[in-house]
C-alpha cells in the first residue's frame, strides 16, 4: 500500500518494560489517525533485519535483558547508524537509550559496549532516580513522564540534550540535562509511557517519517483533550 509506515520495535521480548508498548501503540494509532497504514515489525535477537523501516522504537529492560541483546545490537549497529544518518526518526527509552551511547559501565566496573549513535556514556550509580519528572525542550515544550534508573548518563561534547530538568533527576541528577538528540533520534529516560502524554513528540516522529518517505505531511485533527487533562494532573503530583 502506498501510505504505509513501517514501524520497528527493537527487542520487544527482552527490552520491553514499564509501558514501552505504550510508545509503540501510540505511534501506531496516531499514524492511523493521521491517515497512514502502520505496519509493525518486531525485531528480536537473531531475526532478519527488515528491509525497509520508517520509524524505530526501543525500550528498557532488566539487566538480564540487556545481556541477551548486547551482542545482537552490536551486530545490527551498522544498519542502525545508516538509518539514523539518513534521518530516520527513532525513540529510545531507558536501557536502549543507554546502549545507543558509547558504553555503560556497571557499578562493579563491567563495561557494556554501546553502538555510539549518541555521544554519551553511562555509569552505574549508587542509587535509583525514581519519580515523576518534568523537563523543558525548545522543540517539544514541557515533556512529562516518570523516570526510574540507576545509570547516570553524561553527554559528550558533540551531544545535544533533549530537555532541561524542571522537576526530577534527569540524565544523572547533577547537570540538569535529560535525554539526548542526534539528527532525528531521540533518547530519554522517561517512561509514563512517554508518547501518550506527550503527543507532540509522537506526531513529530510520524511527521519526520512521512516527510522523508512521501515528501509531505498533512496532520489530521486528533482529540487530545484526555492527554492534556492527564498532563495537568501529572504536573500536580508529588515526585
Amino acid at each position: 500500500m502506498k501510505n504505509e509506515l513501517h514501524i520497528l520495535q527493537l527487542y520487544p521480548r527482552d527490552m520491553n518494560i514499564y509501558g514501552d508498548w505504550g510508545n509503540v501503540l501510540t505511534v501506531m494509532r496516531r499514524a492511523e489517525w493521521h491517515g497512514f497504514t502502520p505496519v509493525l515489525h518486531e525485531y528480536n535477537p537473531g531475526d532478519a533485519f527488515p528491509e525497509y523501516i520508517d520509524i524505530v522504537i526501543g525500550g528498557g529492560g532488566q539487566d538480564a535483558g540487556q545481556d541477551v541483546i548486547q551482542t545482537d545490537l552490536l551486530k545490527i549497529s551498522p544498519k542502525l547508524h545508516e538509518l539514523a544518518n539518513s534521518d530516520t526518526p527513532m525513540l529510545l527509552i531507558c536501557g536502549l537509550y543507554q546502549l545507543f551511547g558509547r558504553f555503560f559501565k556497571t557499578k562493579d566496573g563491567h563495561e557494556i559496549k554501546g553502538i555510539g549513535i549518541f555521544d554519551l556514556e553511562t555509569h552505574g550509580g549508587p542509587e535509583r532516580m525514581i519519580g515523576n519528572i518534568v523537563t523543558s525542550s525548545d522543540e517539544f515544550g514541557e515533556i512529562i513522564g516518570y523516570e526510574n534508573h540507576s545509570g547516570q548518563t553524561f553527554l559528550g561534547e558533540s551531544a545535544i540534550s533533549l530537555g532541561k530538568v524542571i522537576k526530577g533527576a534527569g540524565n544523572n541528577g547533577q547537570d540538569e540535562y535529560e535525554g539526548a538528540r542526534y539528527r532525528h533520534v531521540i533518547g530519554s529516560y522517561l517512561h509514563g509511557s512517554l508518547l501518550p502524554k506527550n503527543p507532540v513528540m509522537a506526531d513529530w516522529l510520524i511527521e519526520k517519517a512521512a516527510i522523508k518517505k512521501f515528501g509531505e505531511f498533512t496532520p489530521q485533527q486528533i482529540d487530545d483533550r484526555l492527554a492534556l487533562a492527564a498532563r495537568k494532573v501529572a504536573l500536580s503530583r508529588p515526585r
Binding site: 509501558g19 508498548w21 505504550g22 525514581i130 509514563g192 484526555l226 495537568k232
Partner: protein, 427 residues
C-alpha cells in the same frame, strides 16, 4: 534498650493497639511499638506453635490465598493464627499477634499462616524459618517497589531456601519453576493448570512473544486445575478428582483455591480429610476487595483489586464483562505506585464491546487516555471517587456492576459503599 519481660511487652503492646484503634489509626503502630521494645517478640511468640509457621508470598493473590488456606486448615480442625488485615509485613504480624495472644504472651493456635510481600518475607525468614511456604507467582509490580522482576524472584528464592519442610510452587510461573530446580527435590511440591487453561493466565513474558520458560518441562503437580465453568471447578488433588461449585468468581481466584488446597494437603499429609477439604473450598469467599461481592440497590457490585499489569490482565481475562457495567478507578498514592506506565502494559480490548461506563480516581485521565488508545468507549471521566461512584450506581440501576480499583481507591470505595450497603469490616 533493657530487656522487658514478655508479659509486660504484651500488655503494653495491647494498650498501644487499643489506643491506636481509638484514634482510628492503622494496624502498624502497635506492631512498631512491640518491634522497638522487643526485637525477638514475633519469633519467640510464633515458636510456641506446634505445627510452626506457613508463609505465603508472590506478586498477586496473597491475601485471597491466605484467607483460603486459613479456612481450609480450620475445616480440618486446626486452630490457626493469621495476619488477617493484609498488612503483609513484619510489623503487621506483630500487630496481629497482639490481638490474639493472652496477657501472659501465650498464643493458643496450632499453626500460623502469614502473608508477606516478597521484600518483607526475606527479612522475616531470617528470624522465623517457616516450616511451609507457598509461592504463587512473580509478576512485574510497580517498579518503585522492588526494582526488577528477576530480583523479586531472587527474594522468593531466599524464602524457599529458608523453608524447613516443604515449598509449594506454581509450576506455571517460569521464574518460580526455574528457582525450584535448585532446591532439593524432596522439599518441593507443585500445583498447576491443565494445558487447556494456560491461555487464561497471560504472563508478562508471553505478552510480547517472549517465553521465560524456554520450554522447560513441567514437573508433576500435587494438584491441577483441570476445568472451569463459571464458578464450578474441576481439579485433581493427589489421585482424586473433584468438582466443586465455589463462591469465587474469576479463574485466577479459583486457581488460588487450588494452590491453597495443594499446600493444605501437604501440611496434613495422611491426616487430610479430602471430603472436608472440598466442603471448605466450596464455602470460601474472596478476601475484601478481591472479587468481593456487595449488593447495591438489589444488584451485585463487585470490587476487583488491580495492583500491577499481571493482576489487571488476569482480572480482565477472568471476568466476562458482558451483561455488567464496568468502572475503573486508578489512584497513584504511594501504596498504589506513582508510575502510570503499568497501565500501558495491559490490553483492554476485552472491554471494547461494552465500553467502560465510568473512569475515576486521581489518575482518571491517564486511565481514560489509555482506553482511548485501545479505542474503548468511555462514558464519564471524573477524578472524584465519591461523585463517580454515585453516578455509576445511578446510571445502572438494573445491571450488575464491576469496579476495577487500585489499592487506595478500593479502600475509599469500600468506605463510601459502607454508607449505603453492608460492607464487612476489616479488622
Amino acid at each position: 534498650m533493657m530487656d522487658m519481660p514478655k508479659p509486660l511487652v504484651t500488655l503494653l503492646g495491647k494498650a498501644v493497639k487499643t489506643a491506636a484503634a481509638l484514634r482510628g489509626g492503622g494496624s502498624a503502630l502497635p506492631g512498631l511499638f512491640v518491634e522497638r521494645i522487643d526485637k525477638d517478640y514475633v519469633r519467640s511468640t510464633l515458636s510456641q506453635l506446634p505445627q510452626g509457621v506457613v508463609l505465603i508470598s508472590g506478586t498477586n493473590g496473597k491475601t485471597t490465598t491466605t484467607k483460603m488456606v486459613v479456612e481450609l486448615l480450620e475445616g480440618q480442625g486446626l486452630k490457626v493464627f493469621t495476619n488477617r488485615t493484609g498488612s503483609n509485613f513484619t510489623r503487621g504480624v506483630a500487630a496481629a499477634l497482639l490481638g490474639d495472644v493472652s496477657l501472659s504472651g501465650k498464643l493458643t493456635a496450632d499453626i500460623a499462616v502469614l502473608e508477606l510481600d516478597e521484600a518483607h518475607a526475606v527479612h522475616f525468614v531470617k528470624s522465623v524459618r517457616p516450616s511451609y511456604s507457598l509461592l504463587l507467582n512473580v509478576m512485574r509490580d510497580q517498579l518503585d517497589r522492588f526494582g526488577e522482576i528477576d530480583k523479586t524472584a531472587q527474594l522468593l528464592q531466599a524464602v524457599a531456601e529458608a523453608t524447613t519442610n516443604r515449598v509449594v510452587i506454581n509450576r506455571e510461573d517460569p521464574r518460580l519453576l526455574s528457582l525450584s530446580l535448585s532446591l532439593p527435590s524432596e522439599k518441593v511440591s507443585y500445583f498447576g493448570l491443565d494445558e487447556s487453561l494456560t491461555h487464561l493466565f497471560p504472563s508478562d513474558d508471553a505478552m510480547r512473544g517472549g517465553d521465560a520458560a524456554n520450554g522447560m518441562p513441567k514437573p508433576d503437580a500435587v494438584a491441577v486445575l483441570e476445568a472451569v465453568d463459571g464458578q464450578t471447578a474441576t481439579f485433581r488433588l493427589g489421585d482424586k478428582q473433584s468438582t466443586a461449585t465455589l463462591q469465587l468468581d474469576g479463574v485466577y481466584n479459583i486457581y488460588n483455591a487450588v494452590a491453597a488446597a495443594s499446600l493444605v494437603s501437604k501440611i496434613l499429609g495422611d491426616k487430610l480429610d479430602h471430603d472436608k477439604l472440598v466442603t471448605s473450598l466450596a464455602n470460601v469467599t474472596p478476601a475484601f476487595g478481591r472479587g468481593e461481592k456487595l449488593t447495591v440497590g438489589g444488584q451485585p457490585l463487585e470490587l476487583v483489586l488491580v495492583k500491577n499489569p499481571g493482576g489487571f490482565r488476569l482480572g480482565l481475562t477472568s471476568f466476562d464483562p458482558a451483561g455488567w457495567a464496568t468502572m475503573i478507578t486508578i489512584n497513584d498514592n504511594y501504596a498504589d505506585g506513582r508510575d502510570m506506565s503499568w497501565l500501558w502494559d495491559v490490553e483492554f480490548d476485552s472491554l471494547k464491546s461494552g465500553g467502560v461506563s465510568h473512569v475515576s480516581g486521581i489518575r482518571a485521565y491517564d486511565m481514560a487516555l489509555r482506553l482511548q488508545y485501545d479505542e474503548v468507549a468511555v462514558g464519564s471521566v471524573e477524578p472524584s471517587l465519591t461523585k463517580s461512584l454515585h453516578s455509576f450506581i445511578e446510571a445502572h440501576p438494573d445491571t450488575p456492576k464491576r469496579i476495577y480499583c487500585t489499592y487506595t481507591a478500593m479502600l475509599a470505595l469500600r468506605r463510601e459503599l459502607s454508607k449505603i450497603t453492608k460492607v464487612s469490616k476489616v479488622s
